[in-house]
Structure formats: C-alpha cells, structure tokens
C-alpha cells in the first residue's frame, strides 16, 4: 500500500497471545495495520481471525502483549481507542425489544452526537444502507438479511476511522453482496481503514489492498494485492503436440488438462497475452483469470 505511511489510522499489535482453555487462538502475533485502504484477513474457521478482531475491539483481552489503536492502548485507554472504531463482529446482535432507530440513536448519542442532529444522521444512514423501511420495527422481528444489513449500518454509521467487518456477506442476497462491495469502495475513497475477515476468497479478492492469511493463530501470508501473482487459464481450439516453452510477456507455461496455464509478467495485460498467442498461431477459445491467491491460500492453510 504505497503512499499510506504516516496516515492516521494505525493498529499496532505487539506479541499478542490469546488462549482459550488450553487452545492457542493467537500465538505471539506481531502486526501493524495502516490505513487508509482495505485489509482482508483470510483463513479457515478457527484460524484466529475473529479472535483478533475481538481483541482489537475490547471484546476479549490478550493473555500477553498489547494492542495500540491510533496511539491508544485498547485495555488502559479503551474509550478513546474504541471511539476510532466501528465494528460488525461475528454475528452481531442487538436488543430485540428496541427498534432499529432507537438502537442507532443510542450509538449516536453515546458517541457524542448532539441530540438535534441524530434524526438527520439516521435519515442519511437509513437511505444509504437501504434500512429505512424497517428502521421503526423492533430488532427482534428482523429477518437474517435485515439483521446483517443493520449490523453493517451500525458499523459504518459512526464516522469511525477504522471499520471492522467479520464475515460481512453472511445472510446477504446477491444484490446485498454487490451493494456491500460498492460500500467498501466508497468507504475506501472516504479515506477509512477497513478490515475484513472472511474464509471466502471471492468475497475479498476484488476489493482488498492487502491480504493476510491466518492459520492456527499465526499470520502465514501477508502481501499487498498488487504483488500477488496472477495466472491465466487458456483453452485453445487445438492444443499443439509441443506446447511452446516460451512466449513473450509470459514467465511460466504449463499444461493442465485441456488448458494451458500461464503466468503473465508484471505489467502485461490479458489482451497483450492474447496477442502473443495469436502471433504464435495459437487460436484461443476461452481465457479465464485464475487467482494466484487461491494457490497461495491452499498451500498456506493445508
């Protein structure tokens, strides 16, 4: 994430360890997360993603180490640290006998929003998140999808600098998922640091600036998205007996079934690869981008 040094949003995690009844959920984690941008945490269930989010949000306490959010210790200066953050963690639930409006008003007031500005802020968030139609219903009557939308609205409404989303597209329909992706892009443009935890690669691959893969309480991979290798799977009209060993602009070529998998060199676009293939007299039937991330994920979490 070039050009992001020195920005306001910084989460520093120093030697953090967390154990649950003998099981190590986080193992001496050292990490620095800087904004703005979108940082995604990938990993199988039980990798420690939610534990990490809970520790940063004071929902849990580390057995060792410390967490500093924008210069504030999350344990000893919790109030100031939490003021910088908005979160949707795990399956965030709200008090069932209160309406969405009452719940969000409470959050605004707790964050020091003047009473006479709350209604206007709620109108903007309600319209922006598409929750206005059920904002006056009690939370206990919401469907799973409505609850998820509401939880996301709660995370972003506070104007926090740092926003957490834990498995955010759970229970969302396809249009809701598309809206969520647009929301993330908008938030990034607004200069926020967005942290997403997921075990779905497809959920985060198109919107992240930095990817971290966790397994068994440790960070096993950490890279900017631009540095993650890209592969192309190419189906030809007819596969030649001898697959060319070198094609300009392509650094690796291998055959996989009835397709050829190639790794384009840095800065080489898909259309340039197609042109090179045509120049070699190879007719392309179909070309698919294969995420290098998938390969990395599979090897690091095996």
């Amino acid at each position: 994430m070039s050009g992001q040094e020195g920005r306001r949003q910084v989460i520093s995690i120093h030697e953090v360890t967390k154990r649950y009844s003998g099981r190590t959920a986080l193992d001496g984690m050292d990490l620095e997360l800087r904004g703005p941008g979108v940082i995604s945490f990938l990993g199988p269930n039980g990798a420690g993603k939610t534990t990490l989010f809970k520790l940063i949000n004071r929902l849990s306490f580390p057995d060792a180490g410390e967490i500093i959010v924008n210069g504030y210790n999350i344990v000893s200066e919790a109030e100031k640290a939490l003021f910088c953050m908005g979160s949707q963690i795990d399956e965030t639930r709200f008090h069932p006998y209160l309406t969405g409006r009452e719940i969000l008003s409470f959050v605004y007031l707790m964050r020091g929003t003047p009473n006479d500005m709350v209604a206007e802020r709620l109108r903007i968030v309600g319209e922006g998140m598409g929750i206005t139609s059920f904002l006056d219903d009690r939370f206990g009557t919401y469907s799973s999808g409505m609850k998820q939308r509401f939880a996301i609205a709660n995370a972003i409404m506070s104007d926090a600098e740092i926003i957490f989303f834990d498995e955010p597209t759970t229970n969302l329909d396809p249009s809701g998922i598309a809206e969520f992706r647009n929301l993330i892009r908008d938030l990034r443009e607004m200069g926020k640091l967005i942290l997403i935890s997921s075990h779905l690669l497809s959920e985060v691959s198109g919107i992240s600036d930095r990817i971290l893969i966790m397994n068994r309480g440790k960070i096993v991979f950490d890279s900017d998205i631009e540095e993650i290798e890209r592969f192309l799977s190419i189906r030809l009209e007819e596969i030649p007996e001898n697959v060319p060993k070198s094609i300009p602009g392509v650094s690796e070529i291998s055959r996989r079934g009835d397709s050829i998998v190639v790794k384009p060199e840095k800065g080489v676009s898909n259309s340039e690869v197609i042109e090179r293939f045509i120049e070699k007299g190879l007719k392309i039937r179909e070309i698919t981008e294969v995420e290098g991330l998938e390969r990395i994920y599979a090897s690091r979490t095996a």
């Binding site: 809970k54 949000n57 639930r93 209160l98 409470f106 959050v107 707790m110 020091g112």
Partner: protein, 276 residues
C-alpha cells in the same frame, strides 16, 4: 460528554428494553396476582385477626392496622428478590448469552458506565414492580380503615428500596460471573433461600441468635417497622411493638454493606469480562 448525561442515555436505552420485555409483563402479572390474593386475605381475615394470631379478643385498632401492614410487608422481600433476579440476572450474563455483548461491549464507553446505567434501569424496573404492591397495600388499607396509611408504610418502602439495591447488587455480581442468565437467576435464589436460610437455622439452633448480618434476616426490617416479631426456627420471637430505631439502622447498614461490596466486585469482574 458529562458522565451524568452518559448514565442517563444508557439508563433510557436499557430501561426501554426492560420495559418492553416479556419479563416485565410477567413480573407485572405476578405482582398484581399477589396483590389480589393479599387484598382478598385482608378483607377476609382482618376482623378475624384474634384467631389468626392466637390472641383471644379485644385487639386494639392500632395493632390491627399494624398487623395488616405486617402481613403485606412480609412478601415485599420476595417481590423485590424476584424482580431483581428478573431484571438483573441478564444484565451481563444475558448480553454474553444473547450475543448482544459484541455490540454493547465495543461501544466507546467505560465498562463501569455501562454497568451503572444498566443497574439504574434494572433498579427502576424492580422498584416499579414493588411500588405497585405498595400502592395496592395502601389502597386496601384505606378501604378497610377509611384512613390514609400511617408513616411506617413510607419507612417500610424506603427500606425496601435499600433492600432492592442490595439484592440487585448481589444479582449483578452473579450476572458478571456467569455466561447464562439462568445460572445467575438460580444462584441468587439458591443463595437466598437455601444458603442464607441454612446459615440462619444453624445459628439459631446452635448459637441461639438470629444472624442479622445476613441479608435475608436484615430484610425483616421491611415488615418489622409495623410489628417487631419474627418467625424463627425456635418459634415466634420479638414483641408486638414496632422494631426500634437501632434495629432498623443496623439492618439498613447491613444492606448498604452488601450493596457496596457486591457493586465494587461486579465492576471489577465486568472490567475484564469477555464476549463469547
């Protein structure tokens, strides 16, 4: 933001949640039901009090009035206890159990502010329930004796308010220890009706003294302001006169000590409580 303003916001939010909960309506039904039974008993037995308390005849009107209030007052600790358990047991344990902790615990506020705000909401809800009982008591008293209730009923209500603070503090302490509302509720009932009663019984039998430092015995001040008798393992003890000021002050101090100790302990435990 001023701390007091913050407490008010938290109080309003959680009081509204309590007020709309099923538990609130259950307690409302419970207290109306008990009040109805007590009203029936009052009208049925007030002129037969001689047989009821084994006094042959000639009960003065003053004693009759105080006995009526005494019988009503005997149920106040139980109403306060159940109301406190209903509204307080889920204060922390319920947040963790229901998954709302991820929301409330991550709000930018000190944990003790949250606890104090929630305590105030649970307290007002509990007092509201006890208050209905006292209103019913006063109405029945007025209907029977054609006069407004005497001063001791106000004193009894004040002691009941203090008792509610102390019992709610115990409930909050248990709620901060457990992850399930049911465990916190059961624990307070077991503590009050089994542990404290057993300790009282042992003390009465082996040491021939009522341990007034136990909250269940201190709660006697709520109805001893009318008549100073207590039903114990060794029989009925005390006098037909109202309890003295020293007894009431001592009982109130016991309640205050329980309240302070339990609230401090629950704040300390809650500071490090984790969501599931």
């Amino acid at each position: 933001m001023f701390q007091l303003e913050r407490y008010q916001i938290i109080f309003r939010y959680f009081f509204l949640n309590y007020f709309r909960s099923r538990g609130f309506y259950f307690m409302l039904f419970f207290v109306l039901f008990i009040s109805g039974i007590m009203a029936y008993a009052s009208f049925a037995y007030v002129n037969d009090l001689g047989n009821f308390i084994s006094v042959s005849s000639g009960i003065p009107l003053d004693l009759k009035e105080r006995f009526l209030e005494y019988f009503w007052g005997m149920f106040v600790p139980y109403i306060a206890l159940f109301a406190s358990a209903f509204f307080g047991a889920g204060a922390i344990a319920g947040e963790i159990e229901d998954g709302t902790a991820n929301f409330t615990f991550s709000l930018p506020m000190n944990r003790h502010s949250l606890l104090v705000g929630k305590f105030a909401a649970a307290y007002v809800s509990s007092i509201f329930i006890s208050g209905i009982y006292y209103i019913a008591q006063s109405a029945v008293y007025t209907a029977i004796f054609h006069t407004l209730p005497s001063y001791p009923i106000l004193l009894s209500f004040l002691i009941a308010m203090l008792f509610t603070v102390s019992i709610l503090s115990i409930v909050f302490l248990l709620s901060s220890l457990f992850r399930r509302t049911l465990y916190a509720s059961l624990s307070v009932v077991i503590l009050y009706f089994i542990v404290f009663q057993a300790m009282t019984l042992i003390s009465e039998i082996f040491y021939n003294t009522v341990p007034q430092y136990l909250i269940n015995n201190a709660s006697g001040a709520i109805f001893n302001v009318y008549v100073g008798i207590t039903f114990s393992a060794t029989g009925i003890i005390g006098t037909l006169q109202p309890a003295g000021a020293s007894f009431i002050i001592y009982s109130s101090l016991v309640m205050a000590c329980y309240a302070i100790a339990c609230i401090v302990a629950s704040i300390l435990i809650f500071e490090r409580r984790e969501s599931l």
